[in-house]
Amino acid sequence: MSEQQNKGFVREINGPIVTIDLPGIRSGEQVRIGELGLVGEVISLAGREAVVQTYESTDGVRPGEPAEGLGWPLSVELGPGLLGEIFDGIQRPLEKIALESGDYIRRGLALPGLDREKRWEFEPNPELAPGQSIGPGTVLGTVQETETIQHRILVPPDHQGELTELAPGGEYRVEDSIAHLRDAHGHSLHLTLFHRWPVRKPRPYRQRDDGISPLITGQRVIDSFFPQLKGGKGAVPGPFGAGKTVVQQQIARWSNADIVIYVGCGERGNELVDVLESFPQLEDPYTGRKLMEKTLLVANTSNMPVVAREASVYVGLTMAEYYRDMGYDVVMLADSTSRWAEALREVSGRLGQMPVEEGYPAYLASRLAAVYERAGRVETYNAGAGSVTLIGAVSPPGGDFSEPVTSHTKDIIETFWALSKELADARHYPSIDWVTSFSGHVHAAAEWWHKEVDRHWEGRRTEALALLARDAELSRIVNLVGPEALSDAQRWQLEGASLIKEGVLQQSALDEVDTFCSPQKQFALLDLALSTYDKGMTLIEIGVPVSHLQDLPQLAKARRCKSMYTSEQVARINDLAREIDEAFESIRLEYAKQHTDD
C-alpha cells in the first residue's frame, strides 16, 4: 500500500461516528482522524467512503481535516509490564497519561501500552538451542514480572520455524530482540519480549480441556450454593445498588485465580480508584503477596468515550487469553456488560441500522455469545493448562430481567447469580437470590468438595436449599393467616431457615473477618446451621415447645460466629456445634424428667 493511498479526509462528523474519504482502507483498520490525530476504527465501508467509530470526543473536528489509515486492526501489546497497571479502553496507560496530560485525559495522545524504557531480567529457556524447531507456545524464556508471577515469553501464535539465535540471560527492554527464527520460506524474523495481537480475534490454543476445578471465591453463597468453575462463564445481574460491583470486587480480591483482570466498562470512576487504592495494601490469601501484583485494570468509566467502551471488553479478554496461554488461571470481571451492549447500540443507531428490541441491533445476541465464548479452560500450545473465567455484571434497566441483555446473557452463561432488590433493601448481602440463581456446575464442583472438604457437601447444600424453599412457603401462609396457624415444627423450620440466611448466606464484604471464608469454614458454618436445625427438630418431635429453643443464647452465637472465627479457627465453630448439642441434650433430659414426673 503506498503512502498516497493511506491519506484521506473527513467528510462528516456525527458525534463519535465520522465518515471519511479514504480509498483502499480496510474494514477494522485503525485510523487517525483530524489535526488532533484522534484514534478510531473503520466499522463499515461504502465505495471510497469509510465509517469510523472514534475512541475519543470529536469536538472541534471539521470536514476536510486529514484522515490516515494505520494499516492494522485494533491491537494490544502483550508482554511484561501489564500487571499492576490501569489502561484505558484501548490499552493506553492511564497513570502515564496522568503524568503527561494532567487530571483530564487529553485527546490524541498516542502512548504505547507497555513501558519502552523499563528493563526486564530475561532468563532464557535452558532446554532450547539454536537449530531446534519452535512454534506457537514454545517458551523462549521467562521474566519475573512481579514477585509471584513469572511471565513466560512465548513464541506468538502466528510464528513457526527454526530457532537461529536465543539471547543470553540479562536485562532487556520490551522492544529488544531476544530470539531469531527462520520460517518455512527462509525469512529471518526476530522476536522481542512483547508482541501485538488484534483484540477481536480470539487467541488460538491446542484444544479445549475438560478438567474440573472450582473457582474458589471465599464467598459462601457462591462457592457453597452456586459454584463457578475455572474457565466458566457467569453473570451477575441486578438493579442498581444490589451489589454487582461488590460481588465482582470480592471475586477479584479473594478468588484463587492466578491473574485478575478487572474491566470497568462504563461504570464509576471511584470504583476503579477503590481497587487502585486498596489492592496494593491487601494481601492475597493464597500467596501472601499484595493483590495488585496479580491484577490489572482496564477502565472506560461512564464519562469516557462510548466507543472505547465497546473495545474495552475485547482488550481485557485478549490480555486474559495471553496469560492463559502461559498456563495461568485468569479471571476476568466485566462491570458492566450492559454498558458494552449499549455502546454497540449507540453505534448501530448512528449507522441507521434497524433496531430489533429496545433499540438494540439484531446482532446483539451473537456478539454477546462470541464474547463469552472466549472464556474456557484450554490445553495450550505448549501442552499446559490455562483458563479464562469470565464474569460479567448485567445492569438491567429498571431491574427487569426480561430485557434483551439479561435474557440473552442468561442463555449463554452457566452460572447466574441473580441479585435481588428486596434482599439488598433489607441489607442482606450478597443479595444473591437463592431461588432464581443457578449454577450448572454443582455436580462437577461436588467432586472437588467431597474430596477436599467433606463428603456431605452436596447433601448439605440440597438440604439447605430445601429448607429455604419451605421457609418461603410458610412465610406465604403466615402472610395469609398469621403466625398462630403454624405448628411448632413449622416454626422451627422458619428458625432453621433464618439460621441459614443469617449465619451462612449473609456475608459482609466490609467485615474484616468474614470478607473471605475458606471452603472448610464454609462447610463448618453450613453444617453448624443444619445440625442445629436437625437436633432441634428431634426435640420438637418429642414435644418440646419451640419457645424453649428459640431463646437459646447459642442460636445468636451460631448467627454471629462467621464474624467471630477466622478461616484458621474452624475448630472453634465445631466447638460451638458441640456446645449447642449439649444445650439441646440438657433440654431433652429436663423435658424427659418433667414428663416422667407428671
Binding site: R268, T301, S302, N303, D400
Partner: protein, 460 residues
C-alpha cells in the same frame, strides 16, 4: 477558519436548524443566529459535513422564519467566562447574566463540555460530611466528593431538604463551609425564589452562584445549563481551592429536554422514548464530581431527580441510580404521616459511606449500628405489613416489639425538625436508644463489645 455568516438555512424543526453548503464548520462549535427581527439566538453544531450542518438552537426554534434567518459560525466551542466575581451572581445556561448586572468579564474562558477525569488522577472520597440529618448521617452518610441525588416526587419536600443540607453541611471538626453552585433546570419561579430567599436569609448568598432556567425558559438551554454550572464548579474547586457543593434541580426536566431534541434529530429511542445515550449523557454530568489527587478543592453533588409517577424504575431515576454513588429516596407514605424529612431508608443508599465512617471518622460503632438498624427496620416493615393483614392483636410478643420499633423509628429517627441539626453522636445515641428495646441476642449484627459498651436495655 474565520467567522462566516450564512443565509442558507434550509430546514427548521424542533429546536434544530439545517444549513447547507457551509464547508469547514467544526463539530461542537458555537453558532449565533439572527432571527432577522433584531433578535439573536445561540446554537451549537451537532453534525457537520461540507454539504450540511445541523445546529441545535438553545433558545429553541419557535417562530424562526427560514427566509429571514442569518447563521454565524463563531469558530469557538461553547464556553463561559469565569472569575471570582461569579459568586453572588445569577446566570443563565450560557453563563449570561439574569440578574440585570453586567456580564462576567474575564480572560479565563472554559469550554462547558469539560473532558473526562482520568480515573488514575482521582482520589477516593473519604471525608465524612455531617448534614445534621439522622437518616443521612447515620445510615447513608455523605462524603466530600460524592454524588448523592435526592429521588423525590411532586409535592415532596426535596427543596426544603436540599436547603437544610446546604445550611447544615460541614465536616465534623471543621467549620469550613461550602461554596454553592446552584443549577435550576425547568423549575418553577416559586422554587427558584425559594432557594434565592433561602440563600439570602442564611447569609450565604455571596458564596453562591446560581444558574437558572425556569419552566417557561427555552428547554434546549437546559442541555448546556448543568455543564455550564459544573464548569463553574470546577473553576471554584480547582482554580480557587474551594470545596463546592453543587445542587442541581431538576434532572428530570433536563432529561426531558434531551428527549425532545433526540426525537427531533430522529435518534433511535431505547426506553420510554429516551435515547440510548441518555446514560452516557447523564454520566458526563455526574462524573464531573469527585476528588482529585493533590487538589485542595472538591466537588460534591446533590442532584434532585423527581420520579415521574413516583416510579423509581423510570429511566431517569433508574439511569441516575446506576451512575451516582447512592441515592436518598423520599416517600409519599411518610410524608402523608407528617414525617419530615420523609426519607425512606430501605431504597436509600450511600455507596461511599464505608470509608468515611467508623473509628477515625465518626465513631467505632457506626458501621455496625447502621447495618443493625437496617436489618431491624426491614423486619419491622415486614411485621407492619403482616399486622395490616391479620391485625396487630394476632402478633406474637416478639413481633409486637418490631411493630413498635417501626413506629418509633419513623417518628423519632427519621422525623426531625427542619432546623434541627443533630450531631453524629446524637444520631448514634438515638439509634442505641431505639435498638435497646430489643434483647441483646436479637442484635446479631453488632459485636458483643459494642453491645457491652452502648446497649441500654435491661432485657437478656
Amino acid at each position: 477558519m474565520s467567522i462566516k455568516e450564512y443565509r442558507t438555512a434550509s430546514e427548521v424543526r424542533g429546536g434544530l436548524i439545517l444549513v447547507r453548503d457551509t464547508p469547514g464548520v467544526a463539530f461542537g462549535d458555537r453558532v449565533r443566529i439572527s432571527d432577522g427581527r433584531g433578535g439573536t439566538r445561540d446554537g451549537q453544531v451537532i453534525r457537520a459535513s461540507n454539504e450540511e450542518v445541523m445546529i441545535l438552537v438553545f433558545e429553541g426554534t419557535d417562530d424562526l422564519d427560514l427566509e429571514a434567518v442569518w447563521v454565524r459560525f463563531l469558530d469557538e466551542p461553547v464556553e463561559i467566562a469565569l472569575s471570582p466575581e461569579i459568586l453572588g451572581r445569577e446566570l443563565n445556561g450560557l453563563g449570561e447574566p439574569r440578574d440585570g448586572r453586567p456580564p462576567i468579564l474575564s480572560h479565563i474562558r472554559r469550554p462547558v463540555g469539560g473532558s473526562a477525569i482520568n480515573p488514575a488522577a482521582r482520589s477516593y472520597p473519604r471525608e465524612f460530611i455531617q448534614t445534621g440529618i439522622s437518616t443521612i448521617d447515620g445510615l447513608n452518610s455523605l462524603v466530600r466528593g460524592q454524588k448523592l441525588p435526592i429521588f423525590s416526587g411532586s409535592g415532596l419536600p426535596h427543596n426544603r431538604l436540599a436547603a437544610q443540607i446546604v445550611r447544615q453541611a460541614k465536616l465534623k471538626d471543621e467549620d469550613s463551609s461550602f461554596s454553592i453552585v446552584f443549577a435550576a433546570m425547568g423549575v418553577s419561579y416559586a422554587d427558584a425564589k425559594f432557594f434565592r430567599d433561602e440563600f439570602a436569609s442564611s447569609g450565604v448568598l455571596r458564596n453562591v452562584v446560581m444558574f437558572v432556567n425556569l419552566a417557561d425558559d427555552p428547554p434546549v438551554e437546559r442541555l448546556t445549563l448543568p455543564r455550564t454550572a459544573l464548569t463553574a464548579a470546577e473553576y471554584l474547586a480547582y482554580d480557587l481551592d474551594r470545596h463546592v457543593l453543587v445542587v442541581m434541580t431538576d434532572m428530570t426536566y433536563y432529561a426531558e429536554a434531551l428527549r425532545e431534541v433526540a426525537t427531533a434529530k430522529g435518534d433511535v429511542p431505547a426506553r420510554k422514548g429516551y435515547p440510548g445515550y441518555l446514560y452516557s449523557d447523564l454520566a458526563e454530568i455526574y462524573e464531573r464530581c469527585g476528588r482529585i489527587h493533590e487538589r485542595h478543592g472538591s466537588i460534591t453533588m446533590m442532584p434532585v431527580v423527581s420520579m415521574p409517577s413516583d416510579d423509581i424504575t423510570h429511566p431517569i431515576p433508574d439511569l441516575t441510580g446506576y451512575i451516582t454513588e447512592g441515592q436518598i429516596v423520599l416517600s409519599r407514605e411518610l410524608q402523608n404521616q407528617g414525617i419530615y424529612p420523609p426519607v425512606h431508608i430501605s431504597p436509600s443508599l450511600s455507596r461511599l459511606m464505608k470509608d468515611g465512617i467508623g473509628k477515625d471518622d465518626t465513631r467505632e460503632d457506626h458501621p455496625k449500628v447502621a447495618a443493625q438498624l437496617y436489618a431491624l427496620y426491614a423486619r419491622a416493615l415486614e411485621t407492619r405489613n403482616l399486622a395490616s393483614i391479620i391485625g396487630a392483636d394476632e402478633l406474637s410478643e416478639r413481633d409486637r416489639r418490631y411493630l413498635k420499633f417501626a413506629d418509633d423509628f419513623d417518628q423519632r429517627f427519621v422525623g426531625q425538625g427542619e432546623s434541627e441539626d443533630r450531631s453524629i453522636e446524637a444520631t448514634l445515641n438515638l439509634a442505641w436508644e431505639l435498638m435497646s428495646a430489643f434483647p441483646r441476642d436479637a442484635l446479631i449484627r453488632l459485636s458483643e463489645t459494642e453491645i457491652a459498651k452502648y446497649y441500654q436495655g435491661d432485657s437478656g
